[in-house]
C-alpha cells in the first residue's frame, strides 16, 4: 500500500540483441514501456498468465509484481527470466527478448 506514495523515476531498458533501448516511465511495466516505444514485443494476456511476453533480464534490478512461478519453471526463474508485463524496473537494465518479426 505504501508503495503508492513512493517517488519513482524513469529507467532505461536496453535490448541486447537489437542494439536498441527505450525508457520505462514510473508506474509502467517493462512491456508497457516497450509498447510505448513502438517495439513489437510479443504479448497476449498482459496480466501475467500466458507467458508470451517472457524475457531474460541480463543485467540490472527489476521487481516481479506477481508470482512468476505459476508460469515460469524453476530453471527459468533461476536463469533470470521474467514476464515483461508484470516487471517493473528498479534500475537501468539489459534484457533479451525475441521481438516479433
Amino acid at each position: 500500500m505504501f508503495g503508492l506514495f513512493k517517488k519513482n523515476k524513469s529507467f532505461t531498458a536496453k535490448l541486447v540483441d537489437y542494439n536498441q533501448e527505450f525508457v520505462v516511465e514510473p508506474g509502467d511495466s517493462l512491456l508497457t514501456g516497450a509498447l510505448k516505444a513502438g517495439l513489437p514485443w510479443p504479448k497476449k494476456c498482459q496480466v501475467g498468465s500466458c507467458g508470451t511476453c517472457k524475457c531474460k533480464i541480463i543485467d540490472g534490478k527489476t521487481r516481479a509484481e506477481i508470482d512468476f512461478s505459476y508460469v515460469l519453471s524453476p530453471d527459468e526463474l533461476n536463469d533470470g527470466y521474467a514476464l515483461a508485463c508484470q516487471t517493473s524496473l528498479k534500475s537501468d537494465i539489459s534484457v533479451a527478448v525475441n521481438l516479433i518479426d
Binding site: M1, L4, F5, G27, C45, Q46, E65, S69, P74
Partner: protein, 373 residues
C-alpha cells in the same frame, strides 16, 4: 473541477455500503436499507440506460483519475466489508441472546449484507489485476465471501481462456445464470486447486504447503465463519451461507452477463468482440467501469478509470437492468438473442461462426436464424 468529478463519481458503492452498515446498526426497518438501495439502483440504472459517456482525458491524453485516491478507496473497502459482516453478526448476537432483534429485521440484515458483500466484490476483481499489495487485498476481500480462489482463477484462467469452452466463467449460449453460478464457482475453484498442485509439484513441494494459495485462501475465510458461529450458532451459519450465496451469485452473474454466448477460436488473441460492454452512466460509475469488459480484457493492466468504449458488443442496458432479466432465463435468452445474432452476423470470424453453428446443432432446443436455417 474535472478531476474532482472524475474521481468522486466512483464513490457510490462505498457510500451506499456505509449507509447499509448504518442501517444494520439502527435496526428495525432500517436493516432493509441495503435491499432498498439495491432496488433504487435498478431504477437509476434503467433511467440512465441511454446515457453513455467516454473516459475522460485532458488535451495531452492524461487521465483525470488520481491513482493514490482510487487505491486508498479500494483498500478501505476491505475494512468496510469487515464492519459490514460485524454489523450483521451484532444483529445475530442480539437475536439469539436477547431477542431484541425481530425476525424480519434479521432477514433484512442478512439480505442487505449479502447484496452489498456481493456488489463489493467488484473491488476484489479490480485489485486482482494489481500488484503485490493490491492482489493480497483482493484475496482478503474475496475471502470475506468465501471466494478467495477467484483472484487466481480470474487472472490465470479467465483472462487466458476467455470465450473458450474450458473457461468456467464464460457461459455458453443456453445456460442460465443459476446453473452458471455453480459451474463457474466450482470450476474456478477446481482450476485454482490444479494450478497450486502443478506449481508445487514443479517446485518439489508438498501440496499441504504454506505456499498453497488455494488452501490459504479458504483459511482466510475462517475468521468470518468463527464470527458467525460465535454470534449466532446454527442461525449464524445459516446466515453466512445465505450471505455467501448471494454475494457469489452476484459475482457469477457479472461473469455471466460479461461473456454470455461469445466465442473465441482456440489460439486466437482476445479481442474487444469477445466481451459484452455494459457502459451506461450508472453502471459505469457504480461498478467502477467493470462493464467496459471489451477494453478490460484486451488491456488487463489498465486502471479502471482509463477504460473506454472500444466498439465491443453492447447490450445497451446496464448491469442492474440486465441482472433482472437474467433472473428469468427465458426472458434473458429472448432479449440477448438479437444481440447474439448481430454478433454472429457482423463480428464473428468464420471459425467462430462454425463453432456457434455446431453448438446450435448440438443443442436442439436453441434456434438461431443466422447460422442454422
Amino acid at each position: 473541477m474535472k478531476t474532482f468529478y472524475v474521481n468522486v463519481r466512483y464513490l457510490i458503492v462505498p457510500v451506499m455500503t456505509v449507509l447499509t452498515i448504518y442501517g444494520l446498526f439502527l435496526g428495525g426497518i432500517y436493516a432493509w436499507t441495503g435491499v432498498f438501495l439495491f432496488g433504487l439502483n435498478i431504477i437509476l440504472d434503467t433511467a440512465t440506460k441511454n446515457i453513455h459517456l467516454r473516459a475522460d482525458f485532458d488535451e495531452n491524453g492524461n487521465s483525470f483519475g488520481i491513482k493514490t485516491f482510487q487505491y486508498i478507496v479500494m483498500y478501505l473497502m476491505f475494512p468496510i466489508f469487515i464492519v459490514l459482516q460485524c454489523a450483521l453478526a451484532w444483529n445475530l448476537y442480539q437475536f439469539t441472546t436477547s431477542s431484541t432483534v425481530a425476525v424480519e429485521t434479521l432477514v433484512g440484515a442478512i439480505l442487505s449484507t449479502g447484496l452489498w458483500a456481493g456488489l463489493g466484490i467488484i473491488y476484489g476483481h479490480e485489485l486482482s489485476h494489481n500488484k503485490r499489495e493490491g492482489f493480497s487485498v483482493s484475496r482478503a476481500i474475496m475471502a470475506l465471501s468465501g471466494a478467495s480462489h477467484f483472484t487466481y482463477a480470474h487472472v490465470y484462467q479467465h483472462h487466458l481462456e476467455l470465450g473458450h469452452q474450458n473457461d468456467p466463467a464464460t457461459a455458453p449460449r443456453g445456460r442460465n445464470v443459476y446453473w452458471h453460478t455453480w459451474l463457474s464457482h466450482f470450476g474456478q475453484s477446481k482450476f485454482s486447486f490444479d494450478l497450486e498442485k502443478q506449481k508445487l509439484e514443479r517446485h518439489n513441494k508438498s501440496f499441504f504447503s504454506l505456499d498453497n494459495k488455494w488452501i490459504l485462501g479458504y483459511l482466510y475465510s475462517l475468521p468470518s465463519i468463527i464470527l458467525f458461529v460465535w454470534s449466532g450458532g446454527i442461525i449464524g451459519i445459516l446466515a453466512l451461507v445465505v450471505v455467501w450465496s448471494i454475494s457469489n451469485f452476484l459475482l457469477e452473474a457479472l461473469n455471466f452477463m460479461g461473456h454470455y454466448g461469445l466465442i473465441r477460436e482456440a489460439g486466437k488473441p482476445v479481442e474487444h468482440k469477445h466481451s459484452w460492454d455494459n457502459d451506461n452512466l450508472f453502471t459505469s460509475w457504480f461498478f467502477i467501469e467493470i462493464g467496459r469488459q471489451g477494453d478490460h480484457h484486451v488491456r488487463g493492466e489498465t486502471y479502471f478509470w482509463e477504460l473506454d468504449e472500444v466498439g465491443a458488443p453492447n447490450y445497451e442496458i446496464g448491469y442492474f437492468t440486465l441482472f433482472l432479466l437474467t433472473l428469468i432465463p427465458p426472458v434473458f435468452r429472448k432479449y440477448t438473442q438479437k444481440y447474439l445474432d448481430e454478433w454472429d452476423r457482423n463480428q464473428a470470424s468464420e471459425a467462430e461462426k462454425q463453432i456457434a453453428k455446431d453448438y446450435y446443432e448440438d443443442t436442439k432446443h436453441l434456434s438461431n436464424n443466422i447460422l442454422v436455417v
